[in-house]
């Protein structure tokens, strides 16, 4: 998989959205991004977010702003499984891309619809909501999720069309959506073999 650097693409037109949040760059270490607070949303499970709705933009803050509390989204918050439309039907009706999400050490899998998000930040935000014990941390420009209870860090990885396991965030968002078959939040200690920002994939069968 190539790791071309994309130009900043205005992936959605929501005003007030700082496009630099969606930009993938070789930024300097320690460049600040959104610091997510620990507060949860009103509804405990928010899996599906409407693309193009302004709620999608609520996760994004301006680059230098630390979010204090999560603002209530303006669009309707989605409840899991409501309205009761089967995933099969959703998948066939519009562009829907459900992928399974596994977390090392967690007992269960979830599914997310990648088409519901427009950026990596949104996706990670949704993962954070789903696996409510995590917070997003950015370390050395790699997005990681951390379980504050035990300090274990997780690196989001995905299996692409070729069956290779890659770091999430290496390719432009749309390319990622197209090629991602499933997600795995891998314990950081196991992900050491991943070279960030380079094409070669993790070849270990343990992935």
């Amino acid at each position: 998989m190539s790791s071309e650097k994309p130009k900043v693409s205005p992936e959605f037109e929501t005003s007030g959205m700082n496009l630099q949040e969606t930009e993938l760059t070789l930024g300097l270490p320690g460049e600040s991004r959104t610091q997510k607070s620990g507060t949860k949303r009103g509804f405990s499970e928010t899996v599906d977010l409407c693309p193009g709705s302004t709620s999608a933009g609520k996760e994004e803050q301006s680059e230098n702003e630390i979010s204090g509390t999560t603002k209530p989204p303006t669009a309707k918050e989605q409840k899991v499984g409501w309205p009761p439309v089967r995933a099969f039907r959703k998948n066939l009706m519009k562009n829907c891309k459900y992928v399974k999400v596994a977390v090392d050490g967690a007992p269960y899998l979830r599914k997310v619809d990648l088409e519901m998000y427009c950026s990596y930040q949104q996706l990670l935000g949704a993962l954070e909501e789903m696996f409510t014990c995590f917070t997003i941390r950015d370390v050395l420009n790699e997005r990681r999720l951390m379980d504050p209870l035990n300090g274990v860090e997780y690196v989001p990885t995905y299996e692409d069309k070729d069956g290779d396991w890659m770091l999430v965030g290496d390719v432009p968002w749309k390319m990622f959506v197209e090629s991602c078959k499933r997600l795995r939040l891998m314990k950081y200690s196991e992900a050491i073999g991943f070279a960030p920002r380079t094409p070669p994939k993790c070849s270990s069968s343990g992935c």
Binding site: V47, D48, C50, S53, A75, K76, Q78, K79, V80, G81, W82, P83, P84, V85, R86, A87, F88, R89, K90, L92, M93, K100, P107, Y108, L109, R110, K111
Partner: protein, 581 residues
């Protein structure tokens, strides 16, 4: 001295008795009838695969030819049941492979089916004929290749709405040239491209083919060739219904359709180009079933189509049909029995089409045989529901989904208790009901008082207190399946009606107020039930007894505890000390 018929005579008589209920009744008459009946029962239906074990089934019924199994709870369709919950079919296949060498039919719903299971099926049953996998998952096209290669007498392969790991379309080539027995092939859920020539040859050598549902990848231009090789088709699912606009393609298509004089059912219609719809006009008059629920056809084209289908009995359609389309339906389709209207934009902030309660009222007025309704909409009134109930006392299934959870009557801002109350009161044969909108305990009072034939009830975001649940559990005599989410029902009603649970197939409650303590109590009180708590936060006994569980699934069983529970499911029936982590 009692005279009795010789066994052979009784067996012959029993062979005319096919319904499970009647068979069960026969088996209870006396011991000898029980014995004779169990040896000649050929068809088994297991509504909950954990209610009984393969061993028990095989021990009692040694000569079975057809098995139907259902696995996960219904709410699994809406992502409420975590992955790896269960519903594995392999143990059943393994047991049956040894015990039922003459098994012919397997029908599965919401089960996890692996390629190993499919391979085992294909190799174990020499006379295997029918495989129906409805909303199943866990297998790939490799498993299908095994079925195609090895089942020499295959008649039906129906993958309806299963989630298949679609590696490639090559599996279709595994049907040998000698396979000419196909009657039904439904591969609509597959994504990969298939070789059209392989498909055509398969169709051409299957003179008994009655049902063919293609997948989206089969291009419209290829459809005429397929139809020409199967003019005897009764049910057709098209692939994508779009291609460049060309009159030669159109006339080819129209001619091919007109050659299918037996066609009664149509489905498919992905990516419709409206200009090609008239190609099916010649078959409309004969259609009894039309599934347009993936077709993004707008109202005017829908009206043109539907107005020609005077014999339509079943229509599945998107809400693009709007009220005016439903008016046309009510005027043209007097034989309509089943209507399902699906939302085109379920997660949008507001209505995108002009579909209201009025459309449903029209259909209830115009279609005297209407008995089964599934309707997604954005607004409803008590008045409309009362009118519908008055018009259609013959309703058997009524599933209403108002997309805004807890939406009131939009004119009066009242709860919709009265409306649904009218439904249960007037529709005395109602067997299935799904509620939505703003509802208080009052609606459950109505349901408990009047819903005497109600077998399945789905509740979401409704009710005020335990009284609501109590009304249902104490009043609905025929209740078999109850599924509830996000409603303030808790311990009192459940514990007061614990015995009721043994008369039902299953109860699902998620995001309600049932405490861990109550679950334990239920589990201990009722050994005939499996009381399973699904909690993704970790072991429930790390939290206070009064703390509500996330999800609860209770079902009756003669098989005891299941041994395939994943780490997030806890059984409440006994001391958990023995449970390995």
């Amino acid at each position: 001295m009692a005279y009795s018929f010789p066994e052979e005579v009784l067996e012959h008589v029993f062979s005319f008795i096919n319904s499970d209920k009647d068979r069960n009744a026969v088996s209870l008459v006396c011991k000898s009838w029980y014995e004779i009946e169990r040896w000649c029962r050929r068809r088994i239906f297991v509504g909950n695969c954990y209610a009984v074990s393969p061993r028990i089934m095989i021990r009692r019924f040694p000569e079975v030819r057809s098995v139907e199994l259902k696995g996960k709870p219904h709410f699994a369709d809406f992502n409420l049941v975590p992955e790896d919950w269960g519903g594995y079919v392999y143990p059943w296949i393994a047991a049956m492979s040894r015990a039922y060498p003459w098994l012919e039919e397997i029908r599965l719903k919401r089960m996890v089916v692996t390629d190993e299971a499919l391979e085992l099926i294909s190799k174990s049953f020499r006379n295997f004929k029918v495989l129906v996998l409805s909303t199943c998952e866990g297998f790939s096209t490799d498993g299908l290749a095994a079925i195609a290669s090895n089942c020499k007498h295959l008649r039906e392969l129906d993958l309806r709405e299963s989630e298949v790991d679609d590696i490639s379309g090559h599996w279709l080539s595994h049907f040998p040239d000698t396979c000419t027995s196909l009657v039904s092939l439904n591969i609509a859920c597959l994504v990969s491209e298939l070789s059209c020539s392989v498909l055509e040859r398969l169709v051409a050598r299957s003179p008994n083919l009655r049902t063919l549902r293609l997948n989206r990848a089969v291009p419209l231009e290829k459809l005429p060739n397929i139809l020409r090789r199967a003019p005897q088709l009764v049910e057709l699912g098209t692939g994508a219904y779009s291609t460049e606009l060309r009159s030669d393609i159109f006339s080819n298509l129209a001619e091919a359709f007109s050659g299918c004089k037996e066609l009664k059912g149509l489905s498919g219609f992905w990516d419709v180009v409206p200009a090609y719809l008239p190609a099916i006009y010649s078959v409309c008059a004969g259609l009894t079933s039309l599934n347009l629920s993936y077709a993004t056809i707008q109202c005017p084209d829908l009206i043109k189509l539907v107005s020609q289908c005077h014999n339509l009995q079943r229509l599945w359609v998107l809400d693009y049909i709007e009220d005016s389309g439903l008016d046309a339906l009510a005027a043209s389709c007097k034989d309509l029995q089943e209507l399902r209207v699906f939302p085109s934009d379920p997660f949008g902030a507001g209505p995108n089409v002009s579909l209201t309660e009025q459309g449903l009222v029209s259909v209830s007025e115009g279609c005297p045989k209407l008995q089964s309704v599934l309707f997604f909409c954005r607004q409803m009134t008590n008045a409309a529901l009362v009118t519908i109930a008055r018009n259609r006392p013959n309703l058997i299934r009524f599933r209403l989904c108002i997309i805004d959870a807890q939406a009131p009557d939009y004119l009066t801002l009242q709860p919709l208790d009265t409306g649904f109350g009218a439904i249960v009161q007037n529709c005395k044969e109602l067997r299935r009901l799904s509620l939505s909108g703003l509802l208080t305990d009052r609606v459950f009072e109505y349901i408990g008082s009047h819903g005497k034939k109600l077998e399945m009830l789905s509740i979401a975001f409704a009710g005020d207190s335990d009284l609501g649940l109590h009304h249902v559990l104490s009043g609905c005599e025929s209740l078999r399946k109850l599924e509830i989410r996000d409603s303030p029902f808790g311990d009192k009603a459940l514990l007061a009606n614990a015995a009721k649970l043994e008369t039902m197939r299953s109860l699902w409650m998620s995001s309600c107020s049932v405490s861990f303590g109550a679950c334990k109590l239920l589990g201990r009180k009722l050994p005939g039930l499996n009381v399973e708590v699904i909690d993704e936060r970790g072991p429930p006994d790390l939290r206070p007894e009064s703390s509500p569980v996330e999800k609860l699934y209770i079902y009756r069983t003669v098989a005891g505890p299941r041994f395939d529970m994943p780490g997030f499911v806890w059984r409440m029936n006994e001391d958990q000390a023995w449970r390995l982590s």
